[in-house]
């Protein structure tokens, strides 16, 4: 049990460092979701089942959905959104030149 806990804790530190150093925003959010999930298993190892259920439903569920919806709104997800982002910037530049 102790070895299992230690492996999970090392995995969590690796996840946290990977979130800091990844360039793509979608990758960061997915690694953060797995960080939440492993945290939920650590709560069970520490004998608190209430915390495990709540962290699994809230951390690996709702928080990730909010992050991904935000990424969609700021046009940071996928090739289609990159086109939308460059179009918006071009329209802005043309408006500035006309003024």
């Amino acid at each position: 049990m102790t070895i299992f806990q230690m492996i999970l804790l090392v995995f969590i530190i690796v996840c946290a460092i990977a979130v800091s150093f990844s360039r793509n925003l979608l990758n960061s959010v997915l690694i953060f979701m797995s960080y939440s999930l492993i945290m939920s298993i650590i709560w069970i190892c520490l004998e608190s089942p209430d915390l495990a259920i709540t962290e699994a439903a809230v951390g690996a569920g709702v928080t990730t959905i909010l992050f991904i919806t935000t990424l969609k709104k700021i046009h940071a997800m996928g090739a289609e959104d990159k086109k939308t982002k460059t179009n918006a910037l071009e329209v802005e530049r043309e408006a500035e030149e006309h003024e």
């Binding site: 806990q5 230690m6 804790l9 969590i12 530190i13 946290a16 460092i17 979130v19 800091s20 925003l25 960061s28 959010v29 953060f32 960080y35 939440s36 945290m39 650590i42 709560w43 520490l46 004998e47 608190s48 089942p49 209430d50 915390l51 709540t54 962290e55 809230v58 951390g59 709702v62 928080t63 909010l66 992050f67 935000t70 990424l71 709104k73 700021i74 940071a76 918006a88 910037l89 802005e92």
Partner: protein, 124 residues
Amino acid sequence: MGANLLCNYGESVAMLLFGIGFGNLLLQSNLIKKIIGLNIMDTAIYLFLAEKGYISGRVAPIITDGVQDVNKYINPIPSGLVLTGIVVSVSVTALMLSLSIRLYRRYHTLNLDKVAMILKKEDK
């Protein structure tokens, strides 16, 4: 240095995570990564609190078979504190993300240095 650094491995991992989260908050330039750093700091503190309540060799605080001996269950109080914290953390994250959506709609960038530059030029 005291003697318990390697015995309390859970708590030292929690402090390392706190440092990583705080570094994210200070050093990243993208706003979404700063919010992720704040979330990492939150969960590190919850890990520390839950470790304080754990007693080795005992089970979760749910009374089975009518046994109400205090030597058979872990400490239930830190568990209650963390339960409040997890739900408040999600609402704080939601509020910060909605603020960043409004910021993006106004300035079309989420890099805080560029937003500061645009603000200064608009003031002129």
